[in-house]
Amino acid sequence: MITTITFIPLVAALAIVLAPSANRGMIKILALVGTLISSVLAIQLVLHFDFGGELQFVEKYAWIPSIGVDYFLGIDGLNALLVLLVAFLSPIFVLASWKVDEKAKTYFSLLCLQITALYGAFTALNFFHWFIFWEGALVPVFFLIKLYGGDGRHKAAISFFIFTVLGSVAMLLGVLLLYLNTGSFDFIELRKLAVEGVIFEKLGVLYPTIFVAVMLGLWVKVPLFPLHPWQAAAYAEAPVAVSMVLTGVMSKMGVYGFLRLVVPVFPEAIRDYSNTLLNLTLITILWGAFLALRQSDIKRILAYSSLNHVAYCMFGIFAVGAAMGVDKINAPAIAMQGAILQMFAHGIGASGLFYVAGKMEEVGGTRDIRAFGGLGTVMPRYAFVFSFLIFSSLGLPFLAGFAAEILIFSGVFSIAPIHTGFALLGLLATAIFLLTIIQRIFTGKTNATHFGATDISYGEVLIILPLLVLTVWIGVAPSTWLILSDQFVQTLVSLLIR
């Protein structure tokens, strides 16, 4: 089943390649149908997920037995939500690129390929093919940025490529070393070994090195300070849908990798270095927020804000390592649940924001917010949607951002109160720059150049509507989503806290 979900977009990609390139409508429909089928199946699958159980819908076949490689897929509490995220977002990615007409064939086949890689990366449980999907997610993005991006696309694509490839190489070497010492590529198996303390014992002196090597690849992908410089340029220069992919899902791949590969496998290291990790995360939070204060390029602001928000996830995760024990509020579990919910919430919200930001470029021909003014008068619907997403992003209660962040903060505060105090400064900076966006774009006198601007059509509202509904849903009833990962988090936390 999971295999089907994963490879339907690939089939769509192949079909697109074979389709006549003149028939753009058909290409787009193919892409949409492919992703929609996958989404429906994925949602269906998660609906049948048993909340109390461990790994489910497992597909496991021996692949290369001599080096312990299985074709191993499955869904547990951790990736259920992320599969849902991809399922919700992937049709929207396609719809968001509906206006791409130039080289549409390449574009949509790459996009479908990308979606396959995303599903694959979230469901693979064996390092071998997980890594294939992981890298496979990188390549289409590189080409999409390079071929369809903005003015600075070449530089952005190259630095994106260099950073992520170097990170991946480090991770690959680390995991190979891990394999040589433990004889397993299997995430579940590795986790079991870690619980028994075998990994720590066997790696010996190499333990910290391997830990850092494995972490590097993920650190770049999230990204966290100081490996983030590729991020803003890539987010800003990528075409709209690709920015959405990058911020909505790709950054979550990094966080997911941490929860799947680093935290369960290296619990000792997460504990020992928790202070350093927390500090770096805190720097990332503030770094992103303060950088965004002085930008005028809307996509750059959103990119830095994304840097800041994803760092909150890592904040929640690393805090668990710093926890001394389970106190009466079970703070580690709360923090980690917050992190997982934040992945989902931010994926939804940030994708929406990048979508509407892309619309802005369409209207004004520039991404510079200083060139806008008074759009609220001529484009009320657009203003509503944009402000709605912005308020979700700055943590307004009853919207998605708040539910996740309050969990992270409640958890982390019990563990690292001083860090939390500083992290809240990031919240303040976020409010400032996000409201500045609204102030610049929508309020004041309408710029003469925008008098003719037409409001977003109801079709576009319809594209974004699922995201708005989800935002409210997550904000008002987070339990719907949290229940998926509850069991998983409790197990993981009990593993980390001795």
Partner: protein, 668 residues
């Protein structure tokens, strides 16, 4: 959760905020015409009012009783994050006040906004505001309280920036949101700390809530957690930071006067009667935490005292009618804080009554003043500068009388409602601390003075503005009259017939000190007298110097410039913030340069491969130099070095053949 059981449980309290929510969503989605929107919003709020009055009635006579209804919001790792509703005297009285004043202001807005084509949107925002306000009043969970608190902030942002085409309104909205958010972060830390220390967000939960004796005792047991305070005090301190932001107390007061950019009913509803009182309400709600550490009560009282004096001083130097009222609001909020702080010091739990009583009376007369001001502004053709008014009394009788009723209540003229509540504050300040008492007394004197000054400007003399003054429509004046009745009579009735002080806190409150009563008479009458003395006969107008300015020109200019608070922040906090942002931007730029450098290096390696022999390195330095020498000396070389790739290769192979032959020959 049993939402429909209206008799036993208090779960139905949730309907109080839900009613306006339904109206708000309805208005936002369906966008009906202005008239229909107003009707829907008013109807929904009327239902809320009925429910609120039911809640009020249920608590009346059962002061000490606390009823709760809790439910789980999230369930994580065996721990519940709970929400809930609470019904006690504080809830009941606040609900009744908020929804009553809210309803009156809704009705008033119907007329006030009737010419605005975005009236539907306006009522939508107002409804959202009522959701937040009523929600935080019923909330039994610090977290839920905070969430509604933020919703209130959002509504305030939207309403201040309602006329967003005006850049100043948009800027004021942003300023309000961000300034209050600074406080909110304090609140957030407070509630996180409370959650950490007690393991629950619930305020009352059958003995295990944050505000109940067992938890408070545990919190108070820890010594010297922060600044010599115990845990309860530390939590209270952070909660108080939230209250400072929302209630416009001294360091964070700057947003409130600017918030007057919004439509006048908004100023009345949000920035005078209800929202700003939310901070005071928070302190009252979390009062057990505050009493657990006496140092904290002193902090509250001193902050309040400074604010009340500061704002009263600034109000003397203002000319904008709404701005005067805004500073007056700040001042009165400070006075409420004094009431809570000093009241707590003097009377323990009874302190709630002192602060809350003033909150309730103030809500009525300040709403009245703002609505009256709105009516006057309307009548004077949207003029807000008091120097361009004058002689309004004879033209707008109803509005003027109502306005004067509000004024005397605010001045604490004997036997008006302001008199009773302010009297209580001064009494407890007298018991608690001498300096605080005198500061509050001077502020009260100034209050009477600047209100008299304002009335002289507005009502006396001849009309100095443009056009004609005209009375407003009955839809606007009827709420004024109702509010005026409350403003004058509420204090006497509630204190003498119903013992509201005992009701509010659930303990018996009685304080009496003849000298304080005498002082407060002197203050009220003295202030008014002084004002009349200075302003009644003076020549007033835009071209005239203010009589006080003639005597004290320099200090008065300071007051006109609002004691340079905004400029101070501009020069300090903003600069610091900017410097931080610039610093990080520079560092990021340096990092980007590094990345670019690496990219360039990688590219150069690439182009090195690309050209096989890099022109710059080989050609110019070694190859070219050597080559040209050989080139000149030998003709054979010219044949070989022809730049033809395969030519080189063939030579290379020839070399290999030679080596092979040599090997064969010599290894034999």
């Amino acid at each position: 959760m049993n939402l429909f059981n209206f008799t036993d449980s208090v779960g139905w309290l949730m309907w109080v905020p839900i009613c306006p929510l339904i109206a708000g969503v309805f208005l936002a989605l369906l966008k009906p015409s202005g008239r229909v929107s107003a009707f829907v919003a008013i109807a929904a709020l009327a239902v809320s009012l009925i429910l609120s009055l039911k809640a009020f009635a249920m608590t009346w006579g059962h002061e000490a009783q606390i009823e709760t209804h809790n439910f789980t919001w999230m369930h994580i790792g065996g721990v519940d994050l709970e929400f809930g509703m609470v019904l006690n005297a504080l809830t009941g009285s606040m609900l009744a006040m908020v929804s009553l004043i809210g309803l009156l202001i809704f009705i008033y807005s119907w007329s006030y906004m009737s010419h605005d084509d975005r009236m539907g949107r306006f009522f939508c925002y107002l409804s959202i505001f009522m959701v937040g306000m009523l929600g935080l009043v019923v909330a039994n969970s610090l977290l839920l309280f905070f969430m509604f608190w933020e919703i209130v902030g959002l509504a305030s942002y939207l309403l201040i920036g309602f006329w967003f085409q005006k850049p100043s309104a948009a800027a004021a909205a942003k300023k309000a949101f961000i300034t209050t958010r600074i406080g909110d972060l304090g609140f957030l830390i407070g509630l996180l700390w409370a959650f950490k220390a007690t393991g629950t967000f619930l305020l009352f939960d059958n003995g295990s809530g944050i505000l109940e004796t067992t938890q408070i005792a545990a919190l108070a047991a820890s010594e010297n957690v922060m600044f010599g305070m115990n845990t309860a005090g530390a939590i209270a301190l952070f909660l108080f930071i939230g209250a400072i932001g929302k209630s416009g107390q001294l360091p964070l007061h700057v947003w409130l006067p600017d918030a007057m950019e919004g439509p006048t009913p908004v100023s009345a509803l949000i920035h005078a009667a209800t929202m700003v009182a939310a901070g005071v309400f928070l302190v009252a709600r979390a009062f057990p935490l505050f009493i657990a550490d006496l140092a904290m009560l002193e902090v509250v009282a001193w902050f309040g005292a400074f604010t009340t004096l500061f704002a009263a001083l600034v109000a003397v130097g203002q000319y904008d009618i709404k701005r005067i009222l805004a500073y007056s609001t700040v001042s009165q909020l400070g006075l409420m804080m004094v009431g809570l702080g000093a009241g707590g010091l003097a009377l323990k739990e009874g302190g709630i009554s002192i602060g809350m009583f003033h909150l309730l009376t103030h809500a009525f007369f300040k709403a009245l003043l703002f609505l009256g001001a709105g009516s006057i502004i309307h009548g004077c053709n949207d003029e807000q500068d008091v120097r361009l008014m004058g002689g309004v009394f004879s033209k707008m009788k109803i509005s003027s009388i109502a306005y004067l009723a509000g004024t005397i209540a605010l001045c604490a003229f004997p036997f008006t409602s302001g008199y009773f509540s302010k009297d209580q504050i001064l009494l407890s300040a007298w018991t608690a601390s001498g300096p605080i008492f005198w500061i509050s007394a001077i502020a009260s004197l100034l209050t009477a003075f600047y209100m008299t000054r304002q009335c002289c400007y507005v009502f006396l003399g001849k009309y100095r503005g443009k056009g004609h003054v005209h009375e407003s429509s009955p839809i606007m004046t009827v709420p004024l009259v109702i509010l005026a009745v409350f403003a004058v009579a509420l204090g006497y009735v509630s204190e003498h017939f119903y013992h509201i002080l005992d009701y509010l806190s659930g303990v018996h409150v009685h304080q009496h000190e003849s000298i304080v009563v005498i002082i407060s008479w002197i203050i009220a009458l003295g202030g008014i007298g002084l004002g009349l003395l200075v302003y009644a006969r003076a020549k007033l107008g835009i071209d005239e110097t203010d009589p006080v300015k003639k005597v004290f020109p320099v200090p008065y200019r300071w007051l006109e410039n609002r004691l340079y608070a905004d400029e101070f922040y501009e020069a300090t906090a903003f600069k610091l913030w900017d410097v931080l942002a610039i610093l990080i931007t520079v560092l990021e730029a340096i990092m980007n340069q590094l990345v670019d450098f690496v990219t360039v290096v990688v590219r150069n390696i690439g182009s090195f491969f690309l050209n096989t022999i890099d022109k710059r390195v080989i050609d110019e330095v070694s190859f070219d130099g050597t080559c040209s020498r050989i080139y000149n000396s030998s003709q054979i070389n010219k044949l070989i070095q022809n730049g033809f790739l395969q030519g080189y290769l063939r030579l290379l192979t020839g070399g290999a053949v030679l080596i092979g032959i040599l090997l064969i020959v010599f290894t034999r």
